[in-house]
């Protein structure tokens, strides 16, 4: 990961150079990379930030013990947040709602869209479990009022209720609602809302850094041929085409 930092600094310097497409050999490149200094503390902070935001409590705890890096939020609050996220991911939406309300009763009261999505997920779970009657009742009692209170939810509401119309739910046009990805989406939304209420940024810094790297490389591509990182996972330098 240190390479990422290095490349970015390097690219900043290169920006000042000539307009015509320059060719930079691997040797030159690696030499310049070696000259860039990155602080270990900065990298540790990035890692901690990632673990904390994504909610890997145990890993964060261990990392703190081994590296001495302090997390920027209280690890105890992460546990609560993770419990909520897990509950949604397992399809226990009612449980998740209770936990969120215990954590901070304001969140769902001031976030109508999130609340709607949680209710929607509850309905989906009922349908998934084949509890059609209960699902119908739930839709009328809980979801319909949301649509009445707020017109913008009507479209999504219609899509969800449409699930009830099909016998073979997994193959119908709105079948994607039954995917696990839907659960993950809702879970992510809850996670973000809790983070925001705790005044924490809802996205970790690491993805932004990678995006910056890709963007910077694209910018440089117009001006030079140089060893590129094409696979972010391995971060290996690939030689420039000559």
């Amino acid at each position: 990961m240190s390479l990422f930092w290095i490349v970015i600094r390097q690219l900043a310097e290169i920006e000042a150079m000539a307009m015509s497409k320059k060719v930079i050999t691997r040797e030159e490149w690696e030499k310049k990379l070696n000259d860039v200094k990155i602080r270990k503390e900065d990298m540790n902070k990035l890692v901690m930030n990632f673990l904390v935001t994504e909610g890997y409590v145990d890993a964060a705890e261990k990392f703190r013990m081994e590296s001495g890096t302090e997390p920027d939020i209280d690890l105890a609050t992460i546990t609560d947040r993770m419990a909520v996220k897990k509950a949604v991911q397992c399809g226990n939406v009612e449980d998740a709602i209770e936990k969120v309300n215990d954590l901070n009763p304001e969140i769902l009261d001031t976030n109508p869209q999130l609340f709607f999505h949680l209710q929607q997920q509850r309905l989906i779970e009922l349908i998934r479990n084949g509890k059609v009657e209960e699902a119908l009742e739930f839709a009328q009692e809980e979801l319909a009022p949301r649509g009445e209170e707020n017109q913008s939810f009507l479209e999504e509401l219609e899509r969800t209720v449409a699930l009830l119309a099909f016998e073979d739910v997994s193959n119908c046009p709105v079948g994607d609602l039954l995917d696990i990805s839907q659960r993950l989406k809702t879970a992510s939304e809850v996670n973000a809302a809790i983070l925001t209420s705790q005044s924490h940024e809802k996205d970790p810094k690491l993805p932004s850094l990678l995006k910056m790297l890709l963007w910077a490389q694209n910018q440089l591509d117009e001006k030079a041929a140089y060893p590129r990182i094409n696979d972010l996972a391995t971060a290996t330098l690939e030689d420039p085409a000559i």
Partner: protein, 737 residues
């Protein structure tokens, strides 16, 4: 039927919960409270149904019992449950109060706010760590209550209240300090309260909160803005080593990542700017604020809705800001948002008002609006469901119609005429007074028409409506209706004037001249001035019904104390004095009639007035009465001389105001001409001068500028959308200068 089943289910569940709430066992109570809480959070419908079942007083009762049962020093298991009960019941009450008016009312009626304050926020509690939950829960709920308009007013004048507030602000917990800030934002209204808070030193703490969490930052920004709003004194006392830091801190926050924070920071700066002219005046900060707000319009939620209102408060009445905003394509950006269609009413209103402010003074903005075809969207908005939107559309129309381009387009085709005039006339009958007033404002500008084609408006029955409105109980409506009529009648054709006068009637005019509201009197007199201006036979109107109008004018002149009324009245007399001999004599009678316990004619007071406009009007009247071409002038001159008026005029030969000076010079020439033999009659033919009628500038009447070419004695009153001109004898020039 589905709905019945649903609500039946709800009621059963609801009743079940409420039943368990009354249980003697604490465990059962606690469980029921949690269930209730989870049922209502986020669910407005459920809140309503539980409200109807009487949940709020029940929970308030539980809270009250639990609070008495708590022993602060104690820490055992029993107390654990009692604390939980307090936390949960506070959360339930807070949720009822969250953005739900009926809920807030119920919570306040049950005295829950006081209960929560006493129960959760007492002094001893924060000291014990285990009570943080209770404190937080209480603070959250109270904050919800205080965010509502219905929350009780916090009495800052009471010392113990102030102390409590300060303790809240200084508390470490963000919920508690946030509550303190909320109280300030909600309850601080008067300048006395602002000063009290400022003197108590809250700003220091609020500034430190700016560096805290998101919640603290937002709450603090709102409070700071509340303390400074419209209070130049407090802002000026804001000087010190800390000022620069606080201001630069807020300026930094304008670039914050959260949109709402950016908006609040901008609002804070705008409040400070508007209250005091010495802060935040450099171009950099001005441009930053403008750009920030225009960008915030992109936010799809409430922040975007409110951004346009903030923009208005930034640029309203400030030409320099409007110019800056224009230079960064403000008009285009606003128009783009307008085009999006199906806008939330609040957003629609905000953007229309912002456009109205942009176009209020600058022709470039209005011109741009017209090229972009903004009018089409604005005219559609005239029929919107929301009265605020209709009102805002009228104001936008009023601003844009000040443009010369607009007038040219109006005159050019009747299409433009009808699409705008028809909906506006319809609004004169609107259910909302505010809309009626706004429509009148727009109509006042639109009826200005130099090609005398006001026919569309009249054809649609506009005159009848305006006359009706001039009899309204509401003085603002009377005032604006008269203003519109005044503009309508300005330089109108004889036939048009006749129609209008017949609708108005002399008695109505006379009574409006004597209206209890001075501003209405002024407009009525201005209307009469425009009525009698023009051809000689127009003067006859003032003598209708035994001259009640003229009597009313004379009466008002004798008792009035407001310069604006006196000016209009004198111009009326001045205009009448351009008529036949009998007309001039009638004016003389009015002038020489003394008011009770007044030694001299009112005109002498006017000639000595500090207001140059009034002096001008008075001298005009004298001029017209003594013009050399009229046979009775010499006789009138003698009377004026005997009343001491002539000597006063002679004393004004060096008047500081050029208008006055020129008139006086002419008058003196006229006086002298009665002594010498008449020099050349040809040049005296045009000595009849008339102070021509005046156009009511809807916003700022003081934009009349006497044209530079005084040598032509041609007064050009330029309002920013039309021209009034008066004809004065050219020959006088050759004699005077």
């Amino acid at each position: 039927m589905p709905t019945t089943t649903a609500s039946a289910v709800c009621t059963t569940v609801g009743n079940n919960i409420l039943l368990r709430l009354t249980s003697g066992e604490r465990d059962v109570k606690l469980k029921a409270l949690r269930e209730l809480k989870n049922q209502i959070i986020g669910n407005r419908t459920k809140k309503l149904s539980f409200l109807k079942l009487g949940a709020v007083p029940a929970v308030a009762g539980i809270l009250s019992d639990a609070v008495s049962a708590v022993d602060v020093a104690d820490n055992d298991e029993n107390d654990r449950i009692v604390k939980d009960i307090i936390v949960q019941s506070a959360a339930v009450l807070g949720s009822f109060a969250c953005g739900f008016e009926a809920g807030v009312r119920a919570v306040l009626d049950a005295g829950a706010d006081i209960l929560i304050q006493r129960g959760c926020l007492v002094e001893e509690m924060p000291l014990l760590k285990s009570y943080m939950e209770v404190v937080d829960a209480g603070a959250r709920s109270l904050k919800m209550i205080y965010q509502s308009k219905m929350a009780p007013k916090y009495d800052f004048l009471q010392e113990e209240n102030m102390e409590f507030l300060l303790s809240l602000l200084n508390n470490e917990s963000e919920n508690v300090s946030g509550l303190g800030a909320s109280i300030i934002s909600h309850s601080c209204k008067t300048s006395l309260e602002q000063k009290l808070l400022f003197d108590a030193g809250v700003l220091k703490r609020l500034t430190s909160l700016l560096g805290g969490s998101l919640i603290q930052r937002d709450a603090s920004l709102e409070s700071i803005a509340t303390i400074f709003k419209n209070n130049p004194e407090v802002v000026s006392q804001f000087v010190g080593p800390d000022t620069g830091r606080t201001l630069s801190c807020i300026i930094e926050i304008v670039k914050d990542r959260f949109a709402r924070t950016r908006l609040l920071a901008s609002l804070c700066l705008i409040v400070i700017r508007n209250a005091s002219p010495c802060y935040l005046q450099d171009v950099g900060i001005k441009t930053k604020l403008i750009n920030n707000l225009l960008e915030l319009l992109d936010d799809p939620g409430r922040v975007g809705d409110e951004a346009s209102f903030a923009f208005s408060s930034l640029i309203a009445e400030k030409e320099d800001m409007q110019k800056l905003a224009f230079e960064v394509n403000g008009v285009d950006k606003l128009y783009n948002h307008l085009q999006k269609g199906s806008l939330h009413p609040r957003r629609f209103e905000g953007i229309l008002l912002a456009l109205a402010d942009m176009c209020s003074k600058l022709e470039c903005c209005r011109s741009r609006c017209l090229s972009l075809q903004v009018l089409k969207l604005v005219v559609d908005a005239l029929a919107h469901d929301s009265s605020d939107v209709r009102s805002a559309a009228c104001m936008c129309l009023r601003s844009v119609s000040r443009s010369i381009k607009f007038i040219q387009n109006l005159s050019a085709g009747s299409f433009m005429n009808e699409t705008i005039v028809i909906p506006l006339v319809r609004l004169l009958d609107d259910t909302s007074t505010a809309v009626q007033v706004a429509a009148l404002g727009a109509i006042s500008n639109i009826v200005v028409d130099f090609t005398t084609r006001r026919s569309t408006f009249i054809r649609l029955g506009g005159v009848k409506l305006l006359v009706q409105l001039s009899k309204s109980m509401d003085s603002t409506i009377r005032l604006n209706a008269l203003r519109a009529l005044r503009n309508l009648i300005f330089l109108a054709e004889d036939k048009c004037k006749e129609e209008i006068f017949m609708e108005l009637t002399a008695s109505l005019l006379a009574s409006l001249i004597c209206d209890p509201e001075p501003s209405v009197q002024e407009q009525a007199l201005a209307l009469v001035r425009n009525l009698v201006d023009g051809r000689i036979n127009s003067v006859e109107y003032i003598f209708a019904e035994d001259g009640i109008i003229l009597d009313a004018v004379g009466r008002q002149l004798r008792i009035a104390s407001k310069a604006e009324i006196e000016i209009q009245g004198m111009y009326v007399l001045g205009n009448v004095a351009t008529g036949k001999e009998s007309h001039k004599e009638a004016v003389m009678d009015q002038l020489l009639l003394r008011a009770e316990n007044k030694a001299q004619s009112c005109i002498i007071k006017f000639l000595q007035s500090n207001d140059s406009r009034l002096r001008t009007a008075a001298v005009w009247a004298v001029l017209n009465l003594t013009c050399s071409s009229s046979p009775g002038s010499s006789g009138r001159l003698v009377k004026l001389h005997d009343a001491g008026i002539v000597s006063h005029v002679k004393n004004m030969v060096n008047d500081p105001c050029l208008d006055v000076k020129l008139r006086v010079k002419t008058a003196l020439e006229q006086f002298n001409s009665f002594d010498d033999s008449l020099a050349s009659t040809s040049c005296l033919q045009f000595l009849t001068v008339r102070a021509v009628g005046e156009l009511s500038h809807v916003v700022d009447p003081s934009s009349k500028i006497p044209c530079d070419s005084i040598s032509n004695s041609c007064y050009v009153y330029v309002t920013d959308f039309c021209v009034i001109y008066s004809h004065v004898a050219n020959s006088i020039n050759s004699q005077c200068l």
